[in-house]
């Protein structure tokens, strides 16, 4: 029987890992990626929590893993259909592909911070997102304030576009808190006499080594943690930003002028499952609207609305890099088993 084929939609960490695993299991794979290059958000990242591991150390193995696998870059899959037991994919640049199974690893988009206009993103130059800060650390983006400044003051706002009904996202994006603490420490190391303040609601340092990171930020780097969600950011003299927040532990409002305000933007599904494309739905959309769900959280069986359609990685919900890679491996094995039963 000819080698079975799987189409992987999305060349982020999940897609790359799944491709490598499937190829190692003897399955032929083709990857469709709408951006110009693979790697997803990882390629713009600088250092990973909790041990400041360089992002390229995580990206390179993934990229090496897919050497020799055909990858259609810049082609956005517009149509996935299914008849009998073959799947047909259509991409907007005219590609057609048939496969025995489809693995969606479309991942997440960062929340568009301009939707929280009161934080002044896109209005004041000093307001940036956490992703843009990583680019600054990577040198891919200029710093929005004059680097020779005596004591730059940087603020971090947690939960931007997460746990916020006004943005339609009730869920917690899981990784922004620990990322904020990591970035706060990186800022303190980069600008030795900078003053960093984090405005948080709860600090969800869920993983191993995270609390130690929090400890290091507090004690070694004097990062100030203020429990209070930021209310607004407004312009202050010479391009600085004045922020107002309530310190809910003191029960007092406080005012602070910042040179840079970093918004910890949450995650949103890159492909939003809505009523229209619910034929793709793998059962009712999971927690939070738009994320996909291929099975009930705690049970192994798949909902398998349409057999052969699998999902892996952050498109199922906010996930850290290790979560994504583990999930990609696990789902690849399921895909492989599915193919075995089919042939």
């Amino acid at each position: 029987m000819s080698q079975q084929k799987v189409a992987i939609v999305g060349a982020g960490p999940a897609g790359l890992q799944a491709a490598a695993t499937l190829v190692s299991l003897g399955v032929s794979v083709e990857i469709f990626e709408r951006n110009g290059s693979p790697g997803g958000h990882l390629k713009q990242w600088h250092a990973l929590f909790p041990h400041f591991q360089n992002a390229t150390h995580a990206l390179n193995p993934l990229l090496n893993g897919v050497k020799g696998i055909t990858m259609h870059l810049g082609s956005k899959v517009s149509e996935i259909s299914h008849n009998g037991n073959t799947w047909r994919l259509l991409s907007d640049d005219g590609l057609k592909y048939e496969s025995d199974a489809v693995l969606l690893t479309t991942g997440f988009n960062l929340f568009d911070a301009s939707r929280k206009e009161e934080y002044g993103y896109g209005v004041y130059p000093g307001v940036v997102t956490s992703a843009q800060l990583e680019e600054m650390f990577n040198g891919q983006r200029p710093w929005p304030f004059d680097k020779s400044l005596a004591a730059p003051k940087i603020g971090f706002v947690h939960c931007v576009g997460s746990r916020d009904v006004k943005c339609g996202n009730r869920f917690c994006s899981k990784v922004c808190c620990v990322t904020a603490v990591k970035q706060a420490i990186e800022i303190r190391k980069r600008f030795s006499d900078s003053a960093v303040t984090c405005f948080y609601m709860d600090l969800r340092m869920y993983g191993l080594g995270f609390e130690e990171l929090y400890h290091e930020a507090q004690v070694n780097h004097q990062v100030q943690f203020i429990r209070g969600r930021l209310s607004e950011a407004s312009p202050a003299v010479s391009g600085k930003i004045q922020v107002k927040a309530e310190d809910t532990l003191m029960g007092r409002p406080l005012k602070l002028t910042l040179d840079m305000l970093v918004l910890m933007v949450g995650m949103e599904p890159a492909v939003k499952l809505t009523a229209q494309n619910n034929h793709l739905a793998l059962g009712k959309p999971g927690f939070g609207d738009g994320f996909m769900a291929d099975r009930e959280l705690n049970t192994p069986e798949y909902l398998q609305v349409t057999p052969g359609l699998f999902v892996a990685g952050a498109c199922k919900g906010p996930a850290s890099l290790p979560d994504t890679i583990q999930d990609a491996k696990a789902v690849s094995v399921d895909v492989y088993n599915f193919l075995k039963t089919k042939s």
């Binding site: 407004s234 312009p235 202050a236 003299v237 004045q242 107002k244």
Partner: protein, 350 residues
């Protein structure tokens, strides 16, 4: 209509034939400004601005102090409109932002509760035997000045720039809350982005200062300052605003409501006395103009005729920047007679 964002919302302003109703505070504290507006509209721009001397207060001060029943206010407004109908005008031009809010409120109530309109017509007929029609449009004085800002610019040799350095002046604009916050559709740029004053400033060469407490209330509000016990609340509000704008060192403040202009001006003296601090680098305070005074200066009117010497914060420093000539000895000569200048404040430099 196509959904446009509030920033670009343009309000419709008629070009001519206005029935003008005065402002109690403006004609009492800034008579020069009132006559300047009429002078500009009639003589400079040749507009037909009719004024009936029998028109009264719009009851704003009483209304906002809760001592006048709603029906009385409706009848008073109706009476004003009857004067307008009698004079054959359909465009109401309102001088004060508070009365602008009241006229709109009454018209809006009549729209939603027609029986109220009938009751008011009935009450007016019983008391004065008068009839009235609803106006076609209600505009504020600053709307009109904004509307004709280019005509004024054409006639003006003055620009809102520092005549020596050519730098555009940094201007703080403060739009009266009742201008657009009650009925967003009644103000240029709606409630969030009122552009009636910033439009003026920018088209006349100045730059607008975007300071953190830009939208904060100036503290005027009849309810706040009428009773002495409340005035602390009023002056504290103004203080928040001044402390927020001070770092930007604005050259002057322009406001479209007589109340805001008066209090932003007067509270600087009070705050100077209370805290010993002024909010300008050189200790003279930040001059406060109303839009008519600014328009008057643009058209070369004599500052003393405009009554600028009656302001608490002296305006000479601004006039020097604008390059407007003035005779210092004329400052306190009214119709050839020297009047005693006011006592010099201890902190605010005059």
């Amino acid at each position: 209509m196509a959904n446009i964002s509030w920033k670009d919302y343009e309000k419709r302003v008629p070009d001519d034939h206005f029935f003008y109703v005065r402002s109690c505070i403006r004609q009492t504290f800034f008579p020069g400004a009132e006559t300047a507006l009429l002078n500009i509209l009639r003589n400079e721009l040749g507009k037909d601005v009719f004024e009936d001397s029998r028109h009264t207060t719009c009851t704003g001060i009483g209304y906002h102090s809760d001592i006048i029943p709603l029906e009385t206010i409706m009848t008073m407004v109706a009476r004003q409109l009857s004067l307008m109908t009698e004079a054959g005008y359909r465009n109401l031009l309102v001088s004060c932002v508070t009365s602008f809010g009241i006229y709109l409120e009454m018209l809006d109530m009549w729209k939603h509760f027609p029986e109220k309109l009938e009751q008011t017509r009935d009450a007016l007929r019983k008391t004065t035997g008068r009839e009235f029609e609803l106006p076609q449009s209600v505009v504020h004085a600053s709307d009109v000045v904004f509307h004709f800002r280019n005509e004024i610019l054409k006639r003006s040799s003055v620009r809102l720039m520092n005549c020596k350095s050519g730098e555009p002046l940094k201007v703080v604009e403060h739009v009266g809350c009742h201008y657009a916050k009650i009925f967003p559709h009644e103000g240029f740029g709606g409630a969030e982005f009122p552009s009636v004053l910033s439009g003026l400033v920018e088209s006349w060469g100045g730059t607008v200062v975007d300071y953190p407490e830009r939208r904060h209330c100036c503290g005027f509000g009849f309810r706040h300052y009428l009773i002495q016990e409340n005035r602390g609340y009023s002056v504290s509000n103004a203080k928040v605003k001044f402390e927020s704008m001070a770092p930007f060192q604005p050259d002057f403040i322009v406001a479209n409501c007589p109340g805001c202009a008066m209090f932003l001006d007067k509270w600087q003296y009070t705050l100077a006395e209370m805290t010993g601090k002024t909010f300008s680098a050189h200790g003279h305070g930040i001059p406060v103009l109303t839009h008519e005074e600014l328009a008057g200066l643009m058209l070369g009117m004599d500052p003393w005729k405009l009554g600028l010497q009656m302001h608490q914060v002296q305006v000479e420093s601004l006039l020097d920047k604008l390059g407007i000539l003035y005779a210092p000895i004329e400052k306190y000569r009214l119709a050839g007679v020297d009047i005693k200048p006011p006592a010099r404040p201890s902190v605010l430099m005059v």
